[in-house]
Subunit: 225 residues, 2 copies
């Protein structure tokens, strides 16, 4: 699925009185600026009278000053902070899901490799969750499609198949490739690349998404290392 | 900063024609249901005529069927998928920032410990980024306040201070505690806990946020291990 070039993004965090109309008021204010909401996320709730929610807002195609002015005009908005779009701080995300022992070793390889690319101007994060069980792992694979900035999934375990393989097909259909460790089960037939060593799998995962690397996953598709 | 009890959350992903009015249309539809937008995130853009964006939407206080019906009534909405709220899949997030060597070792401890708690029904993710330089690390510390579900930061490096210490104070002020490795620089005076061994630091970080653990960070504040 091709990506269009990213427009400049303005980012702010602010408090607003919690209520059913809050999101409409925010979206309406953004519309007046001509910008497009890229994300609007409740990062925490604040007890009080009235209760507040703290919102992180990212908007494409608008200057930060214009965005701040539009939000200041909204009733119930308090305490606006200028922040940075999360993509400029945490960048592309490699997601690692599976058993704790393997996830930790994939993370070791991926973090070490990301360090080398981030030193050269890349921004690559390595985000992990250890999970057990077909249902929970399949749900996590499907949810990677909902994670902003997720670029590649590594499945790190000893046995995966069934609904996890179905979820892997769905995830690849939305454009997120998958690397799996060499393991028992049908999953190795439903991923882009199979790598036996977890440190190498983490390293290749980062190389596959780094603009500073010359690794082309398309040329490796279906191979096993 | 106290958190209120979470309401049930409905989550869907859908395509919508990209345009300045898209977020307003979505927020307006949610308002008619009486729900409150918890997050509205563009997960990817799809080239075409017209160009589409794929949106992940989470709404508190509404049934999923009601949410789907409200969105189906919006012009320009296509291809609605039911998803799961990301909090139920990836749960609480430990963020690890710093040098690659140390980040990888903290991740090893944290992933191994999270595995043990996730087996007992917890959901804890370990999200990492290796970075170098005062400005970039300080920006990442500040941005942790903007990350949904971030519960604790681990600073894993050999020397940190200056603006990183200022950023640490700001992050703690919004209610996110920090564990630092024992290192050179002022940072160890601006965190909740200092731990010399990175695997232990990662382990304690997970214990501090796990409901299935009996570790109380409040009772350890200011200590060094």
């Amino acid at each position: 699925m091709p990506r269009r070039q990213a427009a400049p993004t303005a980012a702010i965090r602010f408090d607003i009185v919690d209520g059913p109309a809050a999101a409409s008021a925010i979206a309406g204010a953004v519309t007046t600026t001509g910008g497009r909401v890229r994300s609007l996320t409740t990062v925490r709730s604040i007890e009080g009278d009235p209760p507040l929610v703290e919102i992180e807002l990212e908007v494409d195609g608008v200057e930060e000053d214009t965005l701040v002015a539009a939000l200041e005009a909204v009733d119930d908005v308090r305490a606006i902070h200028r922040t940075r779009a999360l993509g400029t701080v945490f960048g592309k995300r490699i997601i690692v899901v599976g058993g704790g022992a393997q996830v930790a070793q994939v993370a070791l390889g991926a973090v070490s490799e990301a360090d080398r690319h981030n030193l050269r101007g890349e921004r690559i994060s390595v985000d992990t969750i250890p999970l057990v069980g077909e249902a929970d792992i399949a749900a996590a694979v499907r949810a990677v499609a909902d994670l902003p900035r997720a670029r590649l999934l590594v499945l790190a375990g000893s046995i995966m198949g069934g609904d996890i393989s179905a979820a892997a097909d769905e995830l690849r259909a939305v454009g997120i490739p998958i690397i799996a460790l060499n393991m028992v089960g049908s999953i190795t037939e439903h991923v882009d690349l199979v790598v036996s060593d977890p440190v190498q799998a983490g390293t290749m995962a980062v190389m596959a998404v780094a603009d500073t690397a010359t690794f082309d996953l398309d040329r490796q598709r279906g191979r096993r290392y």
